[in-house]
């Protein structure tokens, strides 16, 4: 395509990289299966993630059925229960949340929002999905393997993870789990390199880093973190796989099992915990930062106001990302560490509350005196703020060593992390789907069905997790299939039954959402070009839904940030990023 020179009026620099068309598909396989279009790969990623996520949802029902009505369902043995909680946790954290935020939203939104035609290496991007798909298949295969999936808990702590007392420990379960994780990491790395390089090196003319929507900042930072944190899980998985298959003793101390001395000796289980949480804590923010970014954009668009403190928001994302690498051992306060470590990690943990709180304030200040439209994306964004705040506050409890010690391994912890990295990011995922569905499909999702979905999910989530805090404070430990015959008061059993009913109801509401998607794809109201009147670049494509290559003949030129809403004197209540009109000047930043 043509060479571009400097724009004389605005001084926008000429194109540095030649604008070449992305590889075109020819034939069925390269169009519908091994597609190299980031938008299609995004849908493949999301579809696979949601499919395996449904398995995790069903597992959560089974978990709750056992906890709410212990002994009633005799097909749920203690072993099966352990397998359910393990697979539920691992699928939700890694195979659903990480995959859908980075592989799904990342693939769809990065090229569109920074004004690129596609990811920088579409072929590698395609491979990334298929390796991820393979990882999911291997994971799902463990359900059908002899002995079933691993029941080691999602943290896979050795030595129990590879001993015979744990379901799948000496059979296929743990092996398939570790292989699947290794595959996931390889697949993610291929995608992650694409996301990072596209943001850094493939932005369109005029798109500075400080003009990117916060969605991209969140996804970009999370991607960089994932590229640096997943290596720890990779190494830990390889080493545990060797412990299990080759009989090495990286993590295995000398052990006596069933009166028999095992051949292991000299390894350290604590090393695994350090490696796991060096991955595991950044992982929390790998899930949270894209959610932070997306929710910022949802709030700005649907409150018709620029995001409050854009630069602060960017730096908060980056600082949270950096800090999250030096807090990992707050997951190990009861594992046996030098007390000074606890002091250090408690301090860094609580420092993270500062940039995080700053973000919450800025969301609220964006809403303040905004023109709030209670659309579905806005409702889910508000739901996110509340649930995230709630989960964040209990995080302050657990970040302090002395408060954490009695609360460790109780249902309080379960309630905390489900609130902060379960419910909250999922609220954002739903908000984002309701927001971008018109862009992806050209049709709106049903508002009425969406309202039912939102209120049942939001109130239901509170009905599930709010009482769970009390259950934990009473002292009910997590990961116990049946505590009815122990010290806990009867009220706990009542609460547990209540939580189970709420959980099943919320689960049913998600089926309503799936129905909404299917129905709206066929029959939904036509969305038109930019139904939310959003200013960011992804809505400014020549065609909606955007075609392969995104931008038609000419790449867009960006003149402003993504948050010019309700600008006084402007002809409309938003000014698109590629609108050269009102108050446009290169030197005027943002």
């Amino acid at each position: 395509m043509s060479s571009v020179s400097e724009d004389p009026d605005t001084g926008i620099p000429p194109a540095e990289v030649p604008d070449l068309p992305p590889p075109h598909a020819h034939g069925f396989w390269s169009r519908w299966v091994f597609s190299q279009d980031a938008k299609y790969i995004a849908l493949q990623y999301s579809g696979t993630a949601i499919a395996i996520g449904l398995v995790a949802l069903v597992l959560s029902w089974l978990i709750r059925m056992q906890l709410g009505f212990p002994g009633v369902f005799d097909f749920i043995s203690a072993e099966a229960y352990y397998q359910f909680i393990t697979m539920h946790g691992m699928i939700m954290v890694v195979y659903l949340l990480t995959a859908i935020f980075l592989g799904g939203f990342g693939n769809y939104l990065i090229p569109l929002m920074v004004g690129a035609r596609d990811m920088v290496f579409p072929f590698v991007n395609m491979l990334s999905f298929w390796v991820y798909f393979l990882a999911v298949v291997v994971l799902a295969a463990s359900f059908f393997a002899p002995g079933g999936p691993t029941g080691a808990g999602w943290t896979l702590y050795p030595p129990q993870a590879i001993l015979s007392g744990t379901p799948g420990g000496t059979q296929w379960g743990i092996v398939l789990m570790l292989v699947s994780l290794i595959l996931f990491i390889i697949g993610f790395t291929m995608g992650g390199l694409n996301y990072a390089v596209t943001v850094l090196q493939a932005r369109t003319r005029g798109m500075t880093l400080m003009r990117m929507p916060l969605t991209i900042w969140g996804i970009f930072t999370a991607t960089v973190m994932a590229l640096l944190a997943f290596p720890a899980l990779f190494v830990a998985s390889v080493m545990m796989l060797f412990d299990r298959l080759l009989g090495t003793s990286f993590f295995m101390p000398a052990l006596v099992e069933m009166g028999e001395q095992l051949s292991y000796g000299g390894g350290s289980p604590i090393v695994f915990q350090h490696l796991f949480w060096f991955f595991g804590h950044p992982e929390v923010y790998i899930v949270a930062l894209p959610a932070f970014g997306i929710v910022s954009d949802l709030i700005a668009v649907h409150a018709r106001k620029n995001i409050f403190g854009y630069r602060m928001m960017v730096w908060a994302i980056v600082i949270i990302g950096a800090l999250s690498f030096i807090v990992w051992a707050h997951h190990m306060y009861v594992s046996g560490m030098h007390p000074y470590f606890g002091f250090f990690f408690a301090t860094t943990t609580l420092i993270i509350a500062v940039p995080t709180a700053l973000k919450v304030y800025n969301w609220i200040l964006t809403l303040w005196r905004g023109d709030i439209h209670l659309t579905l994306p806005m409702l889910f964004a508000l739901g996110f703020i509340v649930t995230f705040l709630n989960g964040g506050l209990t995080g302050l409890f657990l970040g302090n060593v002395v408060v954490d010690v009695p609360l460790s391994d109780t249902m309080f912890v379960v309630a905390h992390f489900h609130m902060v990295m379960g419910v909250a990011p999922i609220m954002v995922i739903y908000g984002a789907i309701y927001h971008w569905f018109p862009l992806i499909s050209g049709r709106m999702l049903s508002h009425r069905l969406g309202l039912i979905h939102f209120w049942v999910t939001f109130i239901g989530a509170y009905a599930i997790f709010f009482p769970m805090h009390y259950v934990g404070l009473v002292g009910v430990p997590r990961r116990y299939p049946d505590i009815s015959a122990s010290f806990v008061p009867d009220s706990v059993a009542t609460l547990n039954a209540f939580i189970t009913v709420a959980a099943l109801t919320v689960g049913a509401a998600q089926m309503l959402f799936l129905f909404n998607v299917a129905w709206s794809l066929a029959r939904g109201r036509k969305a038109g070009h930019n139904p939310w009147r959003a200013a960011s670049l992804e809505w400014q494509t020549p065609e909606v839904p955007p075609r392969h290559g995104n931008w038609g003949d000419e790449l867009p030129v960006v003149y402003r940030w993504a948050y010019d809403y309700s600008v006084p004197g402007a002809p409309r209540d938003y000014i698109a990023q590629d609108d050269p009109g009102h108050r446009a000047s290169w030197s005027h930043v943002p």
Partner: protein, 237 residues
């Protein structure tokens, strides 16, 4: 000749101000790096974490073991005639790998000059040295295995010795092997003149774009650098 797209970047100040200007600019944060080069650098950063964590796990195992750690200069010694030469094989291996970095650097230089023959020759030489390294590593493994070293134990002390040794050198050797494979592929493309054909492929954006050679070189030097650390921590400690 510099990067194929570098001349298209606008003039900018030098030093720290230049860095700030780059990050505040549109389009690209690294003005002289193409997409492929940026991708390789970020991949190497990620891979650095992998190797660092392998080595830290090894150091943790070694410094916390209660059994004696095998003495490296005895374990890794070779009998030559009547004398026991500590670290002889490993010294040769290291020399070979460092030399291969030299031939690689020369190949990159000739690629910029678009000298197809020399570039291909030097890349084949690099691949040959890499293969020689892997071969000697196989010999070293064979020797240790025949002396009774296993991932789960060895005759001289802590069983983590064999486990970490095979795992880390094996992981590095895998990197070298993949490097050799890709060197051969790229060298063959250079030899056939694919980068001068003007056909756009995933390794070549435009006629005369030899950047794939340099990106290959980045990887190769990285694998070399990692070896220096493995050498220091495993054989000299």
């Amino acid at each position: 000749m510099t990067d194929a797209t570098a001349h298209r970047s606008p003039p900018r100040p030098n030093g720290l101000e230049g860095v700030a200007a780059d990050w505040a600019s549109d389009q690209r944060a690294f003005k002289t790096a193409s997409w492929g080069k940026a991708m390789m650098w970020i991949f190497l950063l990620s891979d650095t974490f992998v190797f660092a964590i392998f080595l830290i796990s090894y150091m943790s195992a070694r410094s916390s073991t209660e059994v004696e750690w095998p003495n490296a200069s005895e374990v890794f010694a070779l009998h030559v005639g009547q004398t026991e030469l500590p670290l002889l094989l490993i010294a040769i291996m290291t020399f070979v790998l460092i030399s291969s970095s030299g031939t690689m650097a020369m190949a990159v230089n000739f690629a910029y000059a678009r000298n197809r023959r020399r570039t291909a020759q030097l890349m084949f030489a690099t691949a040959a040295l890499g293969a020689l390294f892997v071969g000697m590593q196989a010999f070293e493994w064979t020797k240790l295995i025949s002396e009774g070293v296993r991932p789960w134990g060895n005759p001289w002390g802590a069983e983590q010795f064999g486990a970490t040794f095979f795992m880390i050198t094996g992981f590095h050797g895998t990197h070298v092997s993949f490097g050799v494979l890709f060197l051969l592929i790229v060298a063959n493309k250079v030899r056939k003149g694919e980068f001068d054909s003007g056909r756009r492929t995933w390794l070549c954006r435009e006629k005369g774009d030899y950047e794939a050679v340099e990106i290959m070189g980045l990887y190769w030097h990285f694998v070399d650098l990692v070896w220096v650390f493995i050498f220091a921590f495993f054989y000299l400690w």
